[in-house]
């Protein structure tokens, strides 16, 4: 029934969607890793990115691969705004880590409700889409959809840029220092508040970029973010916190697992397979596949 070609096709399908998952989860992983803030509004930012792309296409005629830059800029701006206006104050006024984590969790949850509600009211529940269908590339009988391939390539580039930024630049090293220990980084003259602001806005910027790319492969609705937020959490838990390569690899694993479900069971079971994978990883390696064991 299923030959080598089908298996290869399924692997490619899985990798292509996995790249999208990886990119979507990068921002969440960064914010979580650096600030210990679980950004529940992450899905809403992905949704906003998709709408940025939709409107840029319809009003300005911009291809999503171009409006990505627009998404990134808007995301960075929105991130700074939200951080400076509220999260900064929560972190400053919280008397301990637990309080800070709970307050920011509630706050980002509120932000997500506001954004979803606003999107529903402003744009309505209509499902929209960018009607670009590019012909697939055919390689030895395997179809590679061009738009998904483009998304995948961009996702890889974004992941590599973030990884190199964290590894090589002074700012990136400062972010990693804060991730490891806030107190010790302060002794080295790093201002954690500034690092938090930068990390948060990069996180939101990446979420919006992911949203822009997702609009290329999937219809756009105000509920779009919900579908991806769950995947993002799975990916972050799999890949470990604050590790772009880890998040990306975990995205690929999730994509492959979902895709491979069709080989031995109904595709309807693919979400279950993803969660079983998550549970197994959490039992075997609670820090995630690529996360370092950290002191608390």
């Amino acid at each position: 029934m299923i030959g080598l070609r089908e298996i290869l096709q399924i692997v490619i399908n899985g990798l292509l969607i996995g790249g999208v998952y990886g990119l979507a989860a990068l921002g969440l992983s960064l914010i979580w890793g650096v600030m210990k803030v679980v950004n529940l509004a992450h899905g809403a930012f992905i949704m906003l990115g998709a709408y940025v792309s939709y409107w840029a296409f319809n009003l300005l005629g911009l291809h999503p691969l171009v409006s990505m830059a627009l998404g990134l800029v808007i995301g960075l701006g929105v991130g700074i705004l939200i951080y400076r206006s509220v999260i900064d104050r929560i972190i400053a006024s919280a008397s301990n880590d637990f309080e800070m984590e709970m307050m920011t969790l509630l706050f980002t949850f509120a932000v997500s409700i506001i954004l979803y509600g606003a999107a529903l009211n402003v744009w309505g529940a209509d499902i929209r889409g960018i009607p670009i269908v590019m012909p697939p590339l055919s390689v030895v009988g395997i179809e590679i959809p061009t738009s998904r391939l483009a998304t995948f390539v961009v996702a890889v580039i974004c992941g590599v840029i973030l990884q190199q930024f964290l590894k090589r630049t002074y700012l990136g090293k400062a972010i990693r220092a804060v991730m490891q220990s806030r107190d010790v980084s302060m002794l080295s003259g790093i201002n954690p508040a500034k690092i938090f602001a930068i990390s948060f806005s990069i996180g939101v910027g990446y979420a919006m970029v992911a949203g822009v790319l997702i609009s290329l492969v999937s219809p756009v609705t105000p509920f779009l973010g919900y579908f991806y937020l769950l995947k993002c959490f799975t990916v972050v838990a799999l890949g470990g916190l604050g590790n772009p390569i880890g998040a990306f690899a975990a995205g690929l694993i999730l994509g492959l697992a979902e895709s491979a479900t069709t080989l031995f069971a109904s595709f309807a079971l693919s979400p279950a397979v993803a969660f079983i994978l998550l549970i197994v990883i959490l039992i075997v390696r609670p820090t995630g596949l690529f996360g370092a064991v950290r002191e608390r």
Binding site: N13, V133, M134, R148
Partner: protein
């Protein structure tokens, strides 16, 4: 001992109060209007539909009232329609509250149901409790009608009959359609459409060569397409909602899955389908409750009821009144109004039981199509779906032939 006595008395009081409350029949004689209650989704995920439904129902009430109202034989006079409605926010909990409020506070006589099977199911649990007649115009799940509810009837084609017309059409095609592939979203409504496809496939002699269910809110459907590509099929019949259907359609084009005929349930019946997919939507067929075609001809039907006009004329009337054209939603609620009107006129009464009984014999035609229910369940058995197809940016009806605007493009030209 005393405590037990108290509990029994309290329980008795409770039962009595419920019984008498339910039994209080409104006095009809001094009525000056028939109050019809509606719970409409004016906000939330169904907000787009709520507005059209409000306009459709207002058009019906206006049409009735311009003629002086509905003649009620028992009272010997005509009574106008008074619509009372609330926004249910597309939410089950709010729907239940609003239906209760309509019945208890506003004391409406009948209910026109909310949008979608889920909300209708919730609403029916309330209307049944109060013994109120609810006419469903936008809840197609067969399940609603198989719960033994007495006062629920539907005017729209139920989900198991969604593909019936399309499959009757398929049975007559040359080259023959023999093998069908079914792709369905894992939700009760679409699964019941799937059950319908299987049922008609047996009746009409199609062979099911592929069947796959995909999860709710999918982000990628390529694994299914890889499999269906290997299946030797003549037609792909999908049961999907709009978002997942559009994703499926987009990926079918991206993966160049070829088939001779392809349907996506009701999703393609809106202009958004073409806007979302562009030319990738070409030749998609849909299963639609109604399309604004210049048919059927009122003069040809002795059992015609309601405004003597075709679907196209109704759409123009709607557009002239409200500034926007309608889709099946604004029409269905008009049909629900007509069914209620038919029941009141034929029974000559405002009594719910008498109307419900009269509705068992209902069989009329209108610009929305035929209306006839199964007496036992209240499910619609007369109305048939129409099959439109996207042809170069235009959605044209291709089946049934009596309503057809164009010929079906079949088999789909292979794209390169």
């Amino acid at each position: 001992m005393r405590k037990k006595y108290l509990v029994i008395m309290l329980a008795l009081a409770l039962i009595l109060s419920v019984l008498t409350f339910g039994a209080v029949s409104p006095s009809w004689a001094d009525r000056d209007a028939i109050k019809v209650g509606m719970s409409l989704s004016m906000s939330g995920k169904y907000d787009v539909f709520g507005k059209r439904e409000l306009w459709g129902s207002k058009l019906w009430a206006q049409w009735v009232n311009e003629k002086g109202g509905i003649h009620v034989k028992e009272l010997g006079k005509k009574l106008p329609i008074e619509l009372v409605w609330y926004d249910d926010k597309s939410d089950k909990g709010v729907t239940v509250k609003m239906i209760e409020r309509l019945i208890v506070e506003d004391k409406v006589d009948y209910i026109l149901g909310p949008y979608g099977s889920g909300l209708n199911m919730a609403a029916a649990s309330v209307t049944e409790r109060y013994g109120k007649l609810m006419i469903i115009h936008a809840g197609a799940s067969d399940k609603i009608y198989h719960r033994g509810w007495k006062y629920v009837i539907g005017v729209l084609t139920p989900s198991t009959r969604y593909y019936m017309s399309a499959m009757e059409m398929m049975a007559k095609l040359k080259p023959e359609v023999k093998r069908i592939a079914i792709i369905v979203e894992d939700n009760p409504f679409n699964l019941s459409i799937r059950d319908g496809i299987r049922m008609w496939a047996k009746v009409l002699g199609f062979e099911e060569v592929f069947h796959e269910v995909y999860p709710l809110h999918p982000t990628d459907l390529s694994p299914i397409l890889t499999k269906v590509k290997g299946a030797d099929q003549d037609a792909i019949l999908a049961a999907s909602h709009f978002r997942d259907g559009a994703l499926l359609a987009k990926q079918i084009a991206e993966y160049k899955v070829y088939t001779k005929l392809i349907g996506f349930g009701s999703a393609p019946s809106t202009t958004e389908w073409w806007k979302t997919l562009g030319s990738a939507a070409n030749y998609h067929i849909s299963t639609s409750q109604w399309e604004p075609v210049d048919a059927p001809d009122p003069a040809k039907f002795p059992n015609w009821y309601g405004p003597k006009m075709t679907g196209k004329a109704f759409n123009e009337w709607f557009k002239k009144t409200w500034g926007e054209p309608t889709d099946f939603r604004g029409t269905q609620i008009f049909q629900a109004g007509l069914a209620l009107q038919w029941g009141i006129e034929k029974s000559g009464s405002l009594d719910t039981d008498k109307i419900r009984k009269a509705l068992n014999d209902m069989d009329f035609m209108s610009f929305y199509g035929r209306c006839k229910i199964d007496p036992e369940t209240g499910i619609q058995v007369g109305h048939e779906m129409v099959v439109p197809q996207w042809q170069d940016g235009k959605l044209v009806v291709v089946w049934p032939l009596s309503l057809a605007e164009a010929k079906l493009v079949y088999p789909i030209p292979f794209w390169e």
